[in-house]
Symmetry: C2
DNA sequence: CTGCGGTATGAAATAGTATAACATCTCGGA
DNA sequence: TCCGAGATGTTATACTATTTCATACCGCAG
């Protein structure tokens, strides 16, 4: 994992092409395994599978979409009488993953996205493209400082900052997208 | 969802005491009337009533709470067989109020709060107290600049920034509150 | 081995949030 | 008078999340 010289985390998601997502997933899972092992927490098969689904793209995914995918039998299994997993199953897995810092919740989308840097401090800053749906996590010191300074001035004790910036990502800007096209969402 | 001390005086907008909330509401409604008049938009009785309910405290209120209050007959009316208003009624009113900039949606709470400065630009920055539930809107240039500069660096075109900082407000910090006590919410 | 406790998952029901689709009403203007 | 636009009523449904109780699995003390 190369370190960018920027203050801002490397823009993985908005890096137009040259992004092998298969290895992107693989690396995320590898990091997760290592992290949980080092912490003595249990990354069970179910949780691993949910994490994999969350990482299936850089677009935040809803809990019920995960549920659907969970139901989909793996290649080689019969379609048969697959019992439908219940919501708590996926929500519990997500809770675990969030606790471990492996996944973030995107409040403005009621959806979940994988975290690049599960070890780092979690400021939780996201740039979310309304066109392609991709969410880029960043860790910008400038924003964090501005926030902290503002809070200090007010005497407010920060516990959990939520920063989710909706807009159009560089790729989509280049391709002339100004409209949703993503059909994504109500309040936007 | 258990309510915290519903009837106790509310610490308003972090401005410890000396806050006459009645006039706070009145002023907000006055501003709204003036604004809509100047724009030629219709602040109907229903919308005015919803706005009033949103302003009933500085704690963000859910759409269904508004609905309940809407059902409650005004003093002087008979309890009778009041027809229950349906969700779309309140959501539509909220949509209008949000469009007019009179109300903001707090994504992380699925709730709504009145806006102090309906005319000003809406950066949408909130400090939300997890103890007393109060949400303070602010318009901090430092935060806005940091965000803008970061977006520029990335080539990201900002459309709607969402900044919601969860924590403990000065009043509650002073009274030694470190725990929720507000029971408000799931993902916290 | 057996039972115990802790953690993880299964399963059913329900709570909470939001929208779709269509009907009706009202009011001003052609 | 009729039309059209905007606001609201009404019914149904979709989507998101949690509560509650039951069961399974695993490591370990007795």
């Amino acid at each position: 994992m190369t370190r960018s010289s920027r203050k801002t985390a490397r823009p993985v998601a908005f890096a137009a092409d040259g992004h092998d997502h298969m290895s992107c997933i693989a690396e995320a899972l590898q990091r997760a395994v290592a992290l949980c092992e080092s912490r003595g927490t249990q990354l069970t098969e179910l949780r691993r599978r949910v994490l994999e689904l969350v990482w299936s793209s850089h677009e935040p995914i809803g809990a019920y979409r995960i549920l659907e995918q969970l139901d989909r039998p793996l290649p080689g299994q019969m379609r048969g009488k697959a019992r439908r997993a219940a919501p708590p199953t996926v929500y519990r897995a997500l809770d675990f993953l969030i606790e471990q810092g492996l996944v973030h919740r995107i409040e403005s989308l009621n959806a979940f996205v994988g975290c690049d840097q599960p070890q780092a401090t979690h400021a939780g800053q996201f740039m979310i493209c309304g066109h392609c749906g991709v969410a880029l996590e960043l860790n910008d010191a400038g924003i964090a400082n501005a926030l902290a300074s503002c809070a200090t001035r007010l005497g407010f004790k920060v516990e959990r900052p939520t920063i989710e910036v909706r807009g159009i990502c560089p790729n989509c800007v280049r391709s002339g997208a100004t409209q949703p096209a993503h059909a994504e969402h109500r309040h936007g």
